[in-house]
């Protein structure tokens, strides 16, 4: 139990039922009201950028696909576009359309998942079960297209790996019809159900100026009326041909984020219908070289959670020199403490969930700062400190000869 000046410090995480991945929040409570919130991320560092740098581009595609358990297609789309731009490949139109269809199906499944998680956080388990039931239909479609429910593996350099058969196109159309009906019901529910409105509105407020200050992206920014949809402000792929109707809202709170997501799902259904109707014939991929010409590139793609940025640098070999993945959640973390402070403890899970956090996509490396007594050590000094520590424990490691490590 931690008490300080009569205030309760409640640790949420690293293990907590409302967190789907490890992450730590130190919530200082004044009664039931959050006085101060400290966000500590970094439990999920997987070293994936380094792993990418030590494998070939083809192998990296599958690491990048596993950056996120939900928006796997957005990440591979960004990575593939990086490589395609550097190699100067022209992706066939049919492939761009299939990428677009899978991307929008992914947005549907991600937002339905979010709606379910949000409902669960506010103790609305029936809505949670309903949205996840409907999400299963989308996942079945994705499995039928790509061969897996989550890591569809549709993208490859120069196009897509699997074609859409006519029966599958008809099946997707049928699923969209069924889903649209359900989505309209959820939209109606979000507009009138007092249990939802009472729990979601007025909490986790992030106004437009705060969005700019914390550089929030995705539905969090769009709920504050800031249109930052990459598909609209910087169209790529199929969205150069098919216009997206942007969705914004002016509630600035968790309720606004819910409305934005539900409306975006309806827009995704419309886009999938248009893309299926106008799906051009032709090849689905062009041959990509194994070696990527030297150069560097930065690509933006709209993932379901917001803008996803990939940076790739190549030195002309078959392995990248540097890969940087900035998942959308990384941009949304900065405003989290601000969003939490001043609201009730009961609202903490839903405010955290409202940015649709993806912890492991975000965690990159440990940052050393001068604050809090941490310090930077040179290699020799670190080694000396280590030897002293072991000597203080009664072990003398100074006789052990270590291989000289390369510096720099």
């Amino acid at each position: 139990m931690s008490e300080r000046d009569g205030k309760f410090v409640l640790p949420i995480g690293p293990q907590h039922p409302s967190l789907k991945e490890p992450c730590s929040f130190k919530i200082t409570l004044d009664g039931e009201v959050v006085e101060k919130a400290v966000v500590e991320i970094g439990y999920n560092h997987r070293g994936l950028e380094k792993a990418c740098e030590s494998r070939t581009f083809v192998q990296d595609l599958y690491i990048i696909e596993r950056v996120c358990g939900i928006c796997s297609h957005a990440h591979t789309s960004a990575f593939c576009r990086c490589v395609e731009e550097m190699c100067g490949l022209l992706v066939p139109r049919r492939a761009e359309y299939i990428r677009g269809i899978v991307g929008e199906l992914e947005r549907l499944h991600s937002h339905l998942l979010w709606l379910g998680v949000a409902a669960h956080e506010i103790g609305f388990d029936t809505l949670f079960m309903y949205t996840w039931r409907d999400r299963e239909r989308v996942l079945d479609m994705l499995a039928a297209i790509g061969g897996n429910r989550i890591n569809y593996g549709v993208n490859t350099f120069g196009g897509v790996r699997r074609d859409l058969e006519p029966e599958l196109i008809a099946e997707i159309g049928r699923v969209m019809d069924a889903l649209e009906e359900k989505l309209k019901y959820y939209f109606e529910l979000a507009l009138v159900e007092p249990a939802l409105i009472g729990r979601l509105s007025g909490i986790g407020i992030l106004r437009p100026e705060d969005v700019r200050r914390f550089s929030a992206v995705g539905p969090v920014a769009r709920a504050a009326g800031i249109m930052d949809d990459t598909r609209i402000i910087e169209p790529y792929g199929v969205f150069r041909e098919i216009a997206v109707n942007g969705v914004t809202d002016d509630h600035c709170d968790v309720y606004g984020r819910t409305i934005v997501r539900v409306k975006e799902m309806l827009e995704s259904v419309r886009l999938i219908r248009v893309m299926l109707r106008e799906l051009p014939d032709g090849p689905i991929s062009v041959k990509a070289p194994r070696r990527v010409p030297a150069g560097e590139i930065l690509i933006r793609v709209e993932a379901p959670r917001g803008e996803d940025i990939h940076y790739v640098r190549s030195t002309g070999g078959d392995m990248p020199d540097r890969v940087r993945v900035r998942a959308p959640t990384e941009a949304n973390w900065h405003g989290m403490s601000y969003m939490l402070e001043g609201f009730h403890l009961a609202d903490v899970p839903i405010i955290i969930a409202a940015i649709d956090p993806c912890y492991s996509c975000t965690d990159r490396a440990v940052r050393l700062t001068d604050a809090g007594g941490s310090s930077l050590h040179a290699w020799e000094e670190l080694r000396r400190l280590g030897i002293e520590r072991y000597q203080s424990l009664g072990i003398d490691p100074s006789g052990i000869r270590l291989r000289e490590f390369p510096r720099g």
Partner: protein, 122 residues
């Protein structure tokens, strides 16, 4: 937005209707999980067509597959070994194979009782 007064529990109608509807879930080991035919499950290997180019081994992101020629160059005896515990089912090997001797099946029942049993010959 509508200003009509609504009582909480809009979902009650759906809930009552669902009591009499067929459940969306199945009683797992007994029901039919309906795996699509082109699912990326366990790999299938067609040894006679293999030319021992080892492209699959080279492209495998997780170093799960191993191709071995037990015979001679003129009289090959090809074997493929898969470590199912390492395999991430991306099926890049299927795409990389120039002779299409690897393919994916929709067999997803891959759980075994020990780690050793997960290393299988295809």
């Amino acid at each position: 937005m509508k200003k009509k007064l609504h009582l909480p529990g809009e979902l009650a109608g759906q809930a009552i209707r669902n009591v009499f509807a067929k459940p969306a879930t199945i009683d797992y080991p007994h029901g039919d999980p309906s795996i699509p035919a082109n699912y990326r499950g366990r790999l299938v290997y067609d040894a006679p067509r293999c030319i021992n180019c080892l492209m699959c081994m080279r492209d495998c992101p997780s170093k799960a597959i191993r191709i071995e020629n037990r015979g001679t160059k003129e009289n090959p005896d090809m074997h493929a070994y898969l470590n199912v515990a390492r395999c991430i089912f991306c099926c890049q090997c299927v795409d990389s194979c120039p002779k299409k001797c690897l393919s994916a099946s929709n067999d997803i029942l891959l759980a075994r009782l020990s780690r050793d049993e997960l290393s299988v010959e295809l």
